[in-house]
Point group: C2
Chain length 308, copies 2
């Protein structure tokens, strides 16, 4: 069984979509990544921080999902990272209404000893300084370091981010961010430019329009499953990353073909995430639902043509 | 060899993109459809109208491509339909600067006798009254009537358009137009609603984000090939339709599987169209280039996963 180390936020989210709104619910990049990865046969651990306002039931939830929480620091008297956002009518864009870093502001990540030899390290979206600290604590070079990040870090901590990018094998990033990072409009050219910065594999996430995987002259594409309703896109990118990392940690195979498969598994899981608010859909997601939808994915994309 | 009847505009286009601009060049829906369909073993004919300003060399071009021009009416003293447009920087939207209907304003289409038994009728984008007239002139129900249309006709001639839609087997339409036609934001729901209006098959074109095919509970998706540069999107949708119709006319097989294949062939050809201004790339496109890119398409989308 592969070992997967996850670093990222564990948070409270308050979300408003055209379909409804929530008070503070469980959220955060590491949360979504961990829940998605728990669909695979992996030993995973979350490195993150919360305040003592973080309910024990959520910590128990992680444990139930076989996620090691020994490196989930609970700061006495501290408050958990809080994000509040509102989606526009098309769900493709959103406004951040509140960001309270709270305990995250002074977080020093500590990698648990028994995860210093992890096969895969998944660096979820947060400060690149924290991501780098996790890389530096590893006993040996993991088979795969996967980085997820966003425009906020490009705008504010580009130098540190560039350093992390240099050390990663795979980056997952959305289309606008890929363009911003490289000043290339064409995603093909942007992916080429990013490969020169370090990562051998570049995954460009296009939300409802699917995800592209680039590696040298290889390109692979996985669509998002067309859904009757998208309810809440929060966490879809993290869920993609969690499915991607979970599959690679289980299989331990970093060939292009297997990374293609990881893109499919990530896309498949992300299609569930958006069906309910926050983590709701991911928490009680069953293997047979995942497998059933995988077959839909296959029908959606596979064809058989003989050329004349 | 299947027979394909094409109705649509034959036009002069003047195009401005971020990469350059053209004076009047060959354009029009029927032109792009005919050129794309000429990649297949089909007997095709264009029903359309031009003025006597339309160069003989263009008519010869159609003939060279084995496209019957006996129903391409040339109006003495008339002027050819003219469209001038300018694309925005992202190439995803454009402004129409000039539309001169000219001879198209009073066009009465006449289907050539030897094409009244066509296997496939491709109704390219133009006035639904003209499209309906072509349907009515057929001697027998074609195997497949394919309709392409756009928001202009929804805004101005919805009743006539609805009538044509009722008679068609396949509609190709872009995502925004599908939403406008049905008042459904979800493309899954929009496709369901359109199927209730008549067409068994609904193809929703999403430009650079690919195309979706819906039929009852089946869904299939083909991405657009990621290109280093998109030079001019003009005619990409018509080229898609031409490849789609050409494949179906050659094979004569209207199963869901074969319509999936038609979507792939259409997407493949459209990826060439956008590489140069107007029809330039399509005119001298060779079969071996098409086949080579088809293999890229396969690599882009096909995977092989065994579920645990």
């Amino acid at each position: 069984m592969g070992k997967l180390l996850i670093v990222g936020t564990v948070a409270f989210d308050a979300i408003e979509t055209p379909f409804g709104k929530t008070d503070k619910i469980l959220g955060g990049a590491a949360t979504f990544i961990g829940l998605a990865a728990s669909q695979f046969e992996v030993q995973s651990a979350i490195v993150s921080v919360v305040g003592d306002d973080f309910p024990q039931e959520y910590i128990n939830l992680f444990k139930d999902k076989n996620i090691d929480t020994s490196a989930l620091e609970v700061v006495e008297g501290g408050k958990t990272f809080f994000w509040k956002g509102k989606y526009h009518n098309d769900l493709n864009s959103r406004d951040t209404l509140v960001t309270e870093l709270n305990t995250l502001a002074d977080f020093n990540p500590v990698v648990p000893t028994n995860f210093k030899d992890s096969d895969v390290v998944m660096l979820g979206n947060l400060h690149p300084g924290i991501q780098m600290s996790v890389i530096n604590q590893m006993d040996k070079r993991p088979k795969l370091i996967i980085l997820d990040t966003m425009n906020f870090w490009m705008n504010n901590t580009l130098e540190e981010l560039t350093q992390v990018i240099k050390y990663t094998d795979v980056i997952t990033i959305n289309d606008e961010e890929a363009r911003q990072l490289t000043n290339e409009y064409s995603l093909v050219k942007a992916a080429e430019a990013i490969q020169k910065m370090g990562p051998k594999y570049v995954v460009i996430k296009k939300g409802e329009h699917g995800a592209l995987l680039f590696n040298e002259e290889n390109v692979f594409f996985a669509p998002a499953l067309p859904l009757e309703e998208v309810f809440d896109p929060t966490g879809a990118g993290d869920t993609f990353a969690g499915g991607f990392a979970g599959h690679l940690a289980t299989t331990g195979n970093t060939s292009f073909n297997n990374i293609k498969n990881a893109v499919i598994h990530g896309s498949n899981l992300a299609s569930f995430c958006v069906e309910r608010f926050g983590t709701q859909r991911m928490i009680d997601l069953h293997k047979n639902e995942v497998n059933k939808r995988f077959h839909q994915f296959k029908a959606l994309t596979q064809f058989d043509i003989e050329l004349q």
